[in-house]
């Protein structure tokens, strides 16, 4: 009898304890969602505000009604910008520069990473460390000496490098090549040795081994590095600001900042539209290839 009641008591006691654990877990979950929602609001507020403003006419903006709402939505900012020849030139310059920089970067860094990760030569380990160190050298340290060097080249050979959009194709690899090489070394080093031994036995040369074995196997890494190189060359602001000045030689970020802001008259509807259109390509890539994007971000520190 006593045993039975003790058992009953025990059973009666257990469910509430389980319930309180579940309640604690539920509460933790609630607060997690609550703070996540708070931060998502904080993080998405500027882009959403850009979008809201881009739908307003300049009359509605200067009327100072509720800035967080559109009362008379209009697409005139978009049609105005997209029919402007100048803006389309910015877009074209940006696109050509980014695509070329990505291609050059990927060829250089895949070749170098293959040789550093697999083939090894005298000093290759030092070079791998050096690649990582150059990745840490910021563009803000390099732009002044590069500017002077370009001026010097102009004096000596007569080739004008400053104020041409294509000079950015020479400059951006300083930012993209070290990091892409670094993460490709990590990806190539993680490929098992047996694979290249099998390829060697089948009579493959180094080039075949790279093209038929390494590149297909490390494709996720290559996509991640490509995305990184594209975002960096699309977003850079310092080099084009320092090296290009004429309106037809500008790329998108600098073009929007310098030409849409004219003196004290800020046409905010158009500026926000331009900024949103400038942010669109990286955002679209991110939306479709999020996992590769994140893999590229974390590879720098977790691999290597």
């Amino acid at each position: 009898m006593t045993v039975a009641t003790a058992q009953l008591e025990g059973e009666a006691r257990r469910p509430p304890r389980y319930g309180s654990m579940a309640r604690g877990r539920r509460r933790a979950l609630f607060w997690s969602y609550f703070f996540l929602a708070l931060f998502v609001i904080f993080f998405l507020m500027p882009p959403v505000y850009m979008f809201i403003t881009s739908l307003k006419s300049s009359g509605e903006i200067s009327a100072a009604t509720n800035p967080w709402w559109v009362f008379h939505p209009t697409l005139s900012n978009y049609t105005n910008l997209l029919t402007q020849k100048q803006f389309l030139i910015f877009y074209r310059n940006s696109a050509i520069v980014s695509v070329l920089v990505v291609s050059v970067t990927m060829v250089i860094s895949v070749l170098a990473a293959f040789s550093l990760a697999r083939m090894k030569f005298w000093g290759s380990a030092t070079l791998a460390t050096g690649v990582f160190l150059t990745y840490l050298v910021p563009d803000t340290l390099l732009f002044i000496p590069l500017f002077k060097i370009f001026a010097f080249i102009h004096d000596k050979t007569g080739i004008e490098l400053i104020n041409h959009w294509w000079v950015l194709i020479v400059l951006y690899p300083t930012l993209t090549v070290p990091f892409c090489t670094w993460i490709m070394i990590g990806y190539f080093a993680s490929i098992p040795k047996e694979l290249d031994e099998a390829a060697l036995i089948d009579g493959a040369g180094y080039m075949q081994m790279l093209l038929r074995v390494f590149i297909p196997v490390a494709l996720p890494g290559i996509i991640a590095a490509t995305i990184f190189a594209f975002t960096v060359s699309w977003a850079n602001f310092l080099y084009p600001l320092a090296f290009t000045t004429s309106a037809d030689q500008l790329v998108l970020p600098v073009g929007i900042v310098t030409t849409l802001i004219k003196g004290d008259v800020y046409n905010w509807g158009q500026i926000m539209t331009g900024a949103l259109l400038g942010a669109a390509p990286p955002l679209v890539i991110y939306a479709f290839l999020m996992d590769y994007y994140i893999a590229g971000l974390t590879a720098g520190a977790t691999k290597g």
């Binding site: 933790a28 997690s32 703070f35 996540l36 931060f39 998502v40 904080f42 993080f43 998405l44 500027p46 850009m50 403003t53 200067s62 800035p67 250089i108 070749l111 170098a112 030569f121 005298w122 290759s124 070079l127 690649v131 840490l136 910021p138 803000t140 340290l141 390099l142 002044i144 000496p145 590069l146 500017f147 002077k148 400059l171 300083t174 090549v177 090489t181 180094y206 975002t231 699309w234 977003a235 602001f237 310092l238 600001l241 320092a242 600098v254 929007i256 905010w268 500026i271 926000m272 900024a275 400038g278 942010a279 990286p282 955002l283 991110y286 999020m290 994007y293 994140i294 974390t298 720098g300």
Partner: protein, 330 residues
Amino acid sequence: MAEAVARDVRVSPIGRRKTARALVRRKSLVAFAMALPLIAVIAGLVVYPAAYAIHLAMLNKSMQHFVGLGNYQFLFRRFIEVSNLSWATFWSWSFEVKLSTFAMVVEQSVLFAVSAVIFKAVIGFVLAHFVHNIPQKGQRKWRGMLLVPWVIPPAMSTLAWLWLFDPSYSAFNWIFTRIGLPAVPWLGNPYWARFGVILDNVWVGAPFFMIMYLAALKSVPEQLHEAAAIDGATWLQKIWYINLPMMRNIIAITALFSLIVTFANFDIVKILTNGGPIDQTQVFATWAFMKGIQGNDIPLGASVSLFMFPILAVAAILILRNVRKRTNEI
């Protein structure tokens, strides 16, 4: 016959070794050739300009002759001036301190980088835990939304912040006046302007920390948490005694890396305040740009930008040590 076989046996190893050595030499030659474009880019576009910057920093403005450390003497002239200092003013804290423009640049660069990195790291750490805490199924969606500030080019998103901080149409001030708070002079007042550039930088960088710390958090073995739960550990103890030690390396690498990038930041300050009001938000990069490119004093600009070098070197050594430690552990 037997002799022939014996000769074969004697000869063949030598021959094989020779071809093997030739193969190795050929292999390292091919490897070197493959790495040559990388070496050219690094040597020509990074190492040489960096060394040239040191040379440039030691020339006079017209770059005609060598002045040694003259530019640095100029930068440190009247660095800090303390006037009206006596026992009485010292205790009542009423003596006057006047900083030169360069001293303000140093002060603001350090303040900007250190406080921004601390805020980014704390927010990233907390957010990573919140994302890790919710069910696996929804994590992708939340992570996707939280990373958006990092994906937008900083120059573009800073324009949005500039518009949010607008003196007459600020959308924040609209909310503040609605709920009865005074309007804030966002970029007009030096202190608020400093707050503004730090806020923008934290907004851009915190998602990166979140992603890195989340990746580190995923690699903490679940058994440790179970064992801690059985021992009756609270959530705070789990974070302090399990997560923090396990994530230590990534925390350090990410923070040091971000410190370098934040010290070298240009876009945000340039667009948001352009160094103003009265040079109060000027950092190394923007001041070097102003002096070197816009002011046409390339040596002075190079001297200023070289101030980023010591912090860079220290951080790089620390990161490298951490990365090595990690690879040894694996």
